[in-house]
Symmetry: C2
Subunit: 302 residues, 2 copies
């Protein structure tokens, strides 16, 4: 932990933090700050905050900014049989972290507050949402884009912060924001990893110790693919085949997908000649883990 | 014409009017006005402005408001074989009217400005868009909601003005705004009618004199239905059958639909016991005309 955060300055943040449970309350807090000339920065989360989220909270924090963190486990982005019910909800610990990381307003709505029973509107990004996780989680990204747009309309942030760990989500939200002329800057922060390279995820908490050890294979395999590209390999199939083989060699994991895609369109790369994302999803037991690495061959890759 | 509008005051409005053809330009104009403490009122139109639009422009105008009128014939709300190409575009006359009616900023974007080629995002309101016009114009309302949300995000209006003439559009936009937490007040103004009762519509310009005479049957029939409700009739089928018969008696018209629906949900009314809309669409030659009357039995209807 950053020792500064345990100092008096950290406590000062904490004591000033406001918790808003209704749309009206968070709008009031934001309006007051905007009236005082502050920019509004939003960090949308589903809670169970880890160092990945904290990196977003810290990036959002700056003089003259009001930092709003939303904590909402959004039911519409979970499919039937997915982990909505068991998704971790450590609210007290999350509020402590928000206080330590300088959040000004935590927006903590109920499902009923976000989704009145007669709601019927969805936001759909075609194409980008069909592949990768979208192919395995039908409706997931409609849930994501709809709730993110709702949060943007509620908070009206000047900037919103997302992690590159959810690489497809980042591409989909960027596309939505551009297409709908949403006046919010999307800031993407690098994936935060554990010491063994595994991307931090609230879902890592589901893993048994042996499963957690196996989980390393995903980032190790993706980095193998990245190294192949840096060594001059340009054939996507060759690269994804090597990544798959590395994961399969570990055992105990099922591959949902491994793909090399264009970073913006998420279309499968026919040849590695532009910024691309090597993205993968695996299942270990009933836990689904995703990760990605971004490779730009123009920055010295071969 | 209101004689006040031809006065010096009217000319003063005209000379100050700004025409913005890009999103950046209209955002700049709005930001300057907002910075000066003004509220922003938006009147979204497809141009070919008539007294119906003018009633919206005048309703939007008030001290301390910046009135933005958008003029954009939105291709995504026209289906294949519909009248996108021939839809009237009298831009100079429209700009004159905007000037006379006190518009501060006319937003007049090109199709390319509104829809870059890689756009993939749509806003969909389920249920309400399936019936009435939605059943006869597949995709129409996705086009409407998507462009309206874009305009809202571009202009960020405090209030936006729509005519009750497009009754289903009003219900769909109200639903979208509620569901997506759009921070814009929706103001609905009464349908403006010609002396013979026919609702003003840019599409009336397509009608030959004989067709224009026949067009009266739609509002006459809807008013017959309204009178039946006021006289105590509560059976939707009986009412819509009478409306249909009245239109069929005129001849030369094809009925797309005649329905009695709940004003908010647009579900078919099982019994007339709450605010409802009698809505109809007819075709005369190749011209499609719509109209509706709102009936609230609680205000003295039986």
């Amino acid at each position: 932990m950053n020792p500064l955060l345990a100092s008096d300055a950290g406590l000062a943040y904490d004591s000033a933090m406001e918790t808003a449970r209704t749309i009206a309350d968070v709008r009031r807090a934001v309006a007051a700050a905007r009236g005082a000339g502050k920019r509004i920065h939003l960090v949308p989360t589903m809670g169970a905050l880890h160092e990945g989220h904290r990196s977003l909270l810290r990036a959002a924090r700056a003089d003259g900014r009001l930092v709003v963190a939303s904590i909402f486990v959004n039911p519409t982005q979970f499919g039937p049989g997915e982990d909505f019910e068991r998704y971790p909800r450590p609210v007290e610990a999350d509020l402590d972290i928000c206080g330590q990381d300088g959040v000004d307003v935590v927006f903590l709505p109920s499902v009923a507050e976000m989704y009145p029973p007669d709601g019927r509107t969805t936001v759909h990004v075609a194409g980008l949402t069909k592949r990768l996780c979208g192919a395995h989680r039908p409706g997931h990204f409609d849930g994501v884009t709809t709730v993110v747009l709702k949060l943007f309309n509620i908070v009206q942030p000047d900037a919103a912060y997302f992690g590159q760990k959810d690489g497809q989500q980042v591409a989909v939200i960027r596309r939505m924001v551009a297409d709908l002329d949403v006046p919010t800057e999307i800031v993407v922060c690098p994936t935060v990893r554990d010491t063994d390279g595994v991307a931090l995820s609230s879902r890592n908490a589901y893993l048994e110790p042996d499963q957690r050890r196996r989980a390393r294979c995903l980032i190790e395999a993706l980095r193998l693919g990245e190294a192949m590209i840096r060594d001059g390999e340009r054939r996507p199939d060759t690269i994804t085949r090597a990544i798959r083989a590395r994961i399969e060699a570990t055992g105990g994991c099922t591959i949902d997908y491994i793909e090399a895609v264009d970073l913006a369109t998420l279309e499968p790369a026919a040849w590695i000649d532009r910024p691309c994302m090597l993205a993968g999803a695996i299942r270990i037991g009933s836990t689904r883990l995703i990760d990605n690495v971004v490779v730009d061959v123009s920055d010295g890759g071969g």
